[in-house]
């Protein structure tokens, strides 16, 4: 049980990192961060981007579920 969730957690973590990196960065860096003026990027996201969003959210949900499950299992196990 623990092993299954551990493997699943590692896989989903790696996938999540990859998916986030695939997104187009919109951070704008530090200069933008504190008092950078108004720079709202208008123009909706493309279909690919929206699908990527969906996949990312799905992976994140699996990831969260794994963490919570593992936490409960380990707590019960010790």
């Amino acid at each position: 049980m623990v092993i299954t969730f551990t493997v699943l957690l590692i896989l989903s973590s790696l996938l999540l990192i990859l998916l986030v990196l695939l997104h187009k960065g919109r951070g704008g860096g530090l200069s933008d961060m504190f008092g950078g003026g108004v720079s709202s990027g208008l123009g909706g996201s493309s279909v690919a981007e929206r699908n990527l969003d969906r996949i990312t959210v799905g992976t994140a949900l699996i990831w969260t579920a794994c963490i919570i499950a593992l936490g409960l299992l380990l707590k019960a196990g010790s």
Binding site: T6, L9, L16, L21, G25, G27, L30, F34, I67, S78
Partner: protein, 432 residues
């Protein structure tokens, strides 16, 4: 004022954005409470209660909202992103290729952002490994003998924790970008703001518990005065008049307007403070890694550069802030570029010739106006350290310089953005 809030929520577009930001913030705070798998929560809580008043963890705990020491999923917070941004910001000055990218405009900027993201994850792996290793050898919370992990010797536990925390950092980065993209304000700064504000009530309550109501009231009063002072300084700007020449293109008249270049007193924002405190965090970290085997240099660092109440520490902090203020202003505001642009569009400052003299004039004014700005930043940041000495408060003194600057800076910025959205519908805003 309240009417403006109601208006903000009555506008469908703005309401959606505000609710979206709130949702993200809730998710973020939730993740900051969920412990990473393998952490013995009971022991961590017990240790945490003992150690909370220790000043050593001040800044890092501030930025992670207490998540770091509790070893949660989002333990690293936005620290890796900030560090990565700082490093890239410095590298742009040093490496010609990056400088060329920056000058390229939008496309180059996107590329630099992408590099920042990669570097963030690399740093996250490093920091996560460091923290998990510290937790494993029971040195994360010093003076606490209980094991923080369930299975200290197992390599799997360690690997899982490191990977989970790294993924957590990636998620935080994504959340921040989502806010920037679809919400309002800048995502990363709103997330920092959240973490700073999250530790705020408990820090205030600490004052009340340890000192009683009178000191509590006094601290509140001082805090309000400080906030007012910070707002006053942040809003202060020198307006350099610019006159645009009137010219005819075909049958149309262009220009002839007079505007101004706003030079803020504190053009650099709070970035110098963050830079300086990140740098000063290094010796503390070195001492922590040195651990029990105290050598001469570790002792030296410990007495002079770790505890915030030593005069040398304050002097170094102050000096660093002033240096970084000038440094950052020099990076962000380029008088030559501004002067060239003005010349191109037929603008001039009354009484000063276009081109080189304009550039020199801008440079002159900027370096003069940055002096009070940098002094102000340094003084505000020293407030908690001075309070530490005067009333013997802990370093998490709620109205600490860095936290006040972050709170006021981000709040002002976000309100301004909300207002500019609001003005598309009606003119009554928050600020008058």
């Amino acid at each position: 004022m309240l009417g403006a809030f109601a208006n903000a929520f009555r506008t469908p577009d703005l309401r959606r954005k505000l609710l979206f930001v709130m949702l993200i913030v809730v998710i973020f705070r939730f993740g900051s409470q969920v412990p990473a798998p393998g952490v013995n929560v009971g022991n961590v809580q017990a240790c945490f209660a003992q150690i909370e008043n220790d000043g050593l963890y001040g800044l890092i705990n501030l930025f992670s909202g207490g998540a770091l020491l509790q070893l949660t999923v989002f333990a690293l917070g936005i620290m890796p992103y900030i560090t990565a941004s700082i490093i890239l910001q410095l590298l742009v000055v040093v490496i010609p290729r990056l400088e060329a990218l920056k000058k390229e405009g939008q496309a180059g900027q996107t590329k630099i952002t992408q590099y920042t993201r990669y570097l963030t994850l690399a740093l996250a792996v490093l920091q996560a490994t460091g923290i998990v290793a510290l937790a494993r050898s029971r040195q994360l919370l010093q003076g606490c003998p209980d094991p923080l992990l369930y299975n200290e010797d197992s390599l799997t536990t360690m690997v899982v924790m490191v990977i989970t925390m790294t993924a957590g950092t990636a998620v935080i980065m994504w959340l921040g970008e989502l806010i920037t993209d679809r919400g309002i304000g800048n995502g990363m700064s709103i997330l920092i703001f959240t973490q700073v504000v999250a530790t705020f009530p408990s820090a205030l309550w600490q004052v009340k518990v340890s000192r009683g109501w009178w000191v509590f009231a006094l601290v509140m009063a001082i805090g309000l005065v400080l906030v007012a002072a910070v707002i006053f300084m942040e809003q202060g700007q020198r307006r350099i008049p610019v006159q645009y020449a009137r010219r005819m293109v075909g049958r149309k008249m262009f220009g002839g307007s007079s505007t101004y270049i706003p030079l803020k007193v504190n053009q650099a924002g709070i970035i110098p403070v963050i830079f300086a405190s990140s740098l000063l965090y290094l010796p503390a970290m070195a001492v922590q890694f040195a651990g029990q085997s105290r050598s001469a240099w570790a002792d030296f660092l410990n007495t002079y550069l770790v505890s915030g109440d030593h005069p040398l520490y304050m002097a170094v902090y102050f000096g660093l802030i002033i240096f970084f203020t000038y440094f950052y202003v020099a990076i962000t505001f380029n008088p030559q570029e501004v002067a060239d642009n003005m010349k191109k569009y037929g603008g001039f400052i009354p009484g000063i010739r276009a081109g080189k003299p304009t550039e020199e004039y801008l440079n002159y004014v900027l370096s003069r106006i940055t002096l009070p700005g940098s002094l102000y930043l340094g003084l505000i940041s020293l407030v908690p350290l001075v309070a530490l000495v005067l009333v013997n408060a802990n370093q998490n003194f709620p109205f600490g310089g860095t936290s006040i600057l972050i709170m006021v800076g981000v709040a002002l910025d976000t309100v301004k953005q909300i207002e500019s959205q609001l003005q598309q519908r009606n003119y009554e805003g928050f600020l008058r």
